[in-house]
Structures are given as structure tokens and as C-alpha cells.
Amino acid sequence: MSSESNDQVLDYPLRAPSALEPPAEWDQLRKGCPVAHVRLPSGDKAVLLTRYNDVRAVLSDPRFSRNLAQEGAARITTNEGGSVFENPDAASLSGGESHQRWRRLINRAFTVKRIQALQTKIEAMANQLVDEMVKKGPPADLVSDFAFPLPVWVIADLLGIAVDDRDKLAYWSNAMLTMTQFTQEEVNKAQMEFAHFLMGHIAAKRAQPGDDLLSELITATDKDDVLTERELMMTAQGILVAGHETTSNMIGKMMSMLLSDRSRWERLLANPSLIRTAVEESLRFDANMGFGLPRFISEDTEVAGQSLPRGTTVICSMSSANRDESFFEGASEMKLDRSPNAHITFGAGAHSCLGQALARTELQTTLQVLVKRLPTLDLAVKPEELPRREGLLVGGIEKVLVRW
């Protein structure tokens, strides 16, 4: 690589022309500068990877930690308390054997069998949200009326949280994932309130276990498998942070992608058996995924023929990797029947998304219900005018106005 491109430092996150389009830089970076120097919102320097093979290799490499709460790692946000990646408490569950033990415990709630058993409930929730939309009449905001509530209802159900507490959950989750949208004071307050709520909730489940993940974890009989109070808290918080906003945003983006070129939606109406591959292709094609995943390079390594010294913070752009022409044929086209589709939207390796079967089921159920209930659905705004969510680690669309 020329020293010229090496010297250039890009401000990260990169800015895309619109909510559904990729930043212009991706293509150039993948072709000419696969290891790019970037400046994070905190002012700290990092390195950005944009090619499929590089992103996949670094994400799957067990040597490199995703926890940035260590000496020498770049800070991401301008907030003093840092982002979800700088939480020192999370470190105890995120590495090596303790990670594997924790993951296998939590996996119990996310196996395909368990998720499929949950599907009927998710479908009922989706239908209930559509009932409300239909009652109010068009236009509706698909984000606030459908995409935002659905995943938080599902998580509340998983954690055995009462229907009345769902709205509070949604607010805390929003505040805890912030990059710049909330003040540090608001973030701290949300974290404290949520922690307080969870302590009470866990105590209640201890006293009277129910048919939910937390109760199952609390009453796990195998001595070695018992999680501490602190780990239970981290787990519940992790599930909310990882599973709410991400899925909400993805529902909004998936529907926007499918409706922005209505022939896509019509193809699904004509052939609903495409729903499974259409969900995967929406996950791959999503150009507005947000920040990407960081990794701290703990020993000297090489990526794309370039050496990365120990102490480097790397940002892996899965959404750029998913558009890599050298891996996906016709990467810049959305093909609803693409199969196989090895996108890495959920990451790769030992830390790949724990809740991916649940996310897939929520997305598939969304399409099944909307195709059936609202076949005449259409965007009520021009695709290029869809307003982006600002200041979040997870990219999304603020509002998706639709009519039917």
C-alpha cells in the first residue's frame, strides 16, 4: 500500500449519503486500503478493516479481545463512562473458559428448539401490534408502532418481566446504548434504575421462580453452573442491550429496503417461501449497521499483508465486509433468493451473536405477519428521505412512515 493512503486518517464512523446507502469510502477502502487509519469520536486512533476475509479472520481470532476496558485500548465515545465495549464488568464473562461456561448456560434459552417454541408468542405479539396500527389507520410509523416494541416485548417475556414494565425497559435500553444522544448523567441514571429494577426482579424470581430464562438460571441445579448475582445482572442487561435496539433497527431497515424498491415486496407477496432467504439478504445488504465490532490486538499480528502491532484497536466493519464483491457475487444487488448467504452481520467465531436464532425468528415472523396482514404496505416517504438515527452505536432509521 502506498504511504499516501497510509497517512490519511478518516473520521469514524464514516458518513453515508442516505439511510439505505453505503458510505462511498467502503468500495475504495476494500480495493486500495484494507487496513485504514481512523479517528474515533473520542479522538483516539484505530484501524478499520473492510474486507470480508480480514473482518471474519479478526473477529474469529480467539487471541483478540472485544473488551476495550484495558490499558492502551482506544476509547470509542466522548462520554466519560464509555460505551458498552468499555465496561470492565463485562470482561469477566467475555474471555476464554468463563465465557464458554457462561455462553453455554445462556444458550439454553436460545437454541433453535426453544426459539421455535416461542414463535407462536412472537406471532401473536406482532399481530397485536398490527391490530393497533390498523385501528389507528394509515399513515403509521413502522418504527414506533411495530419495530421498537416487538423485540422488547419478546425480551420482557424471556426474562419474565411484567407487561406493565415493558416501556421502562425500552427507555433504559435506548439510553444504555447511546453514543452521543444522551448526556452521561442520563446514561448513568438509566443504568442505575435498570440495575435497581433488576435486583428486585431477580429477588422476586428467586422467591417465586417462573417459566423464564432468569428463573432457569437461578434454579440451575448443577453447582458448577450457578451464576453469581452480579453475573445474572450482567446477563439480563446484556440480553436487553444486545437484543432490543439491534433487532428494532433491523426490522425498520429491512422493511425500508424491501419497500424502497416495491418490486422486492411484491416478490415476497407472490412467493412467501422466500421469506427466510429474504431475511438473510436484508441482514447482508444492511449498509447502515452502525459502528461495527472493535477488537484489541493483544499480540503482534498481520492482516492483509500488513503488520498490526500489539496495542492496536481494530474496528471490524461487518457491513462493508458483507458488500465485498470478491466474496459475494453481485454484492451491490439485493437478491432475495441468495443462498447460501454467509454474511457476518452477527459476527463470527466464539463471540458471534448468541441471540441470532431469536433475531432471525423475529425478522421472519415480522415478514410473515406483514405480508399476510398488510399486503398493500408502501413507504409514505421517499427512500432517500428516511431519517437516520443519530448518535448510536447501532445504526438505524428513526422513523419509517408507511401507508396501506
Binding site: 455462553r103 444458550n107 439454553r108 436460545f110 437454541t111 428448539k113 447460501p340 454467509a342
Partner: protein, 67 residues
């Protein structure tokens, strides 16, 4: 000559993609780790198995010719 499915269990992260794509060949234990239901699946399953191999986030699966 048939094909045989090989699993590197320590690479399995329990995402369940293989179960969703090829439920006749793969299942999961309670903790999410893959269970191989059919080590030498019939040829009509090869396509699904190949897809499971491609989409496995842990790159834990392989298909090779069995002797």
C-alpha cells in the same frame, strides 16, 4: 462413495444455523452445542449440509468423501 460430515465441537458456538438450515442432519444439545444426527447423510441432503457449512459462524463443520 458417500460423503461424511465432520464436526469440530470446540469451534461450535451454538448459534443453531445448521439446525435451521439442515434439521435432518443437525440438532442441538440443551446448551446449544451441535448434535450430528446423520454422519453420512443421503445425497439429497448435501445441498442443505453445504449451506450449513457455509453459514456456520464458528466454521465448525466440514463435508468430506468417506471411504
Amino acid at each position: 462413495m458417500g460423503m461424511r460430515v465432520l464436526v469440530e465441537y470446540e469451534k461450535c458456538c451454538g448459534a443453531g444455523q445448521c439446525v435451521m438450515v439442515a434439521p435432518k442432519v443437525f440438532d442441538q444439545r440443551d446448551d446449544g452445542i451441535v448434535v450430528l444426527l446423520d454422519e453420512t447423510p443421503p445425497p439429497e441432503q448435501y445441498k442443505a449440509v453445504q449451506e450449513a457449512i457455509t453459514v456456520c459462524p464458528g466454521a465448525a463443520l466440514r463435508l468430506e468423501e468417506s471411504a
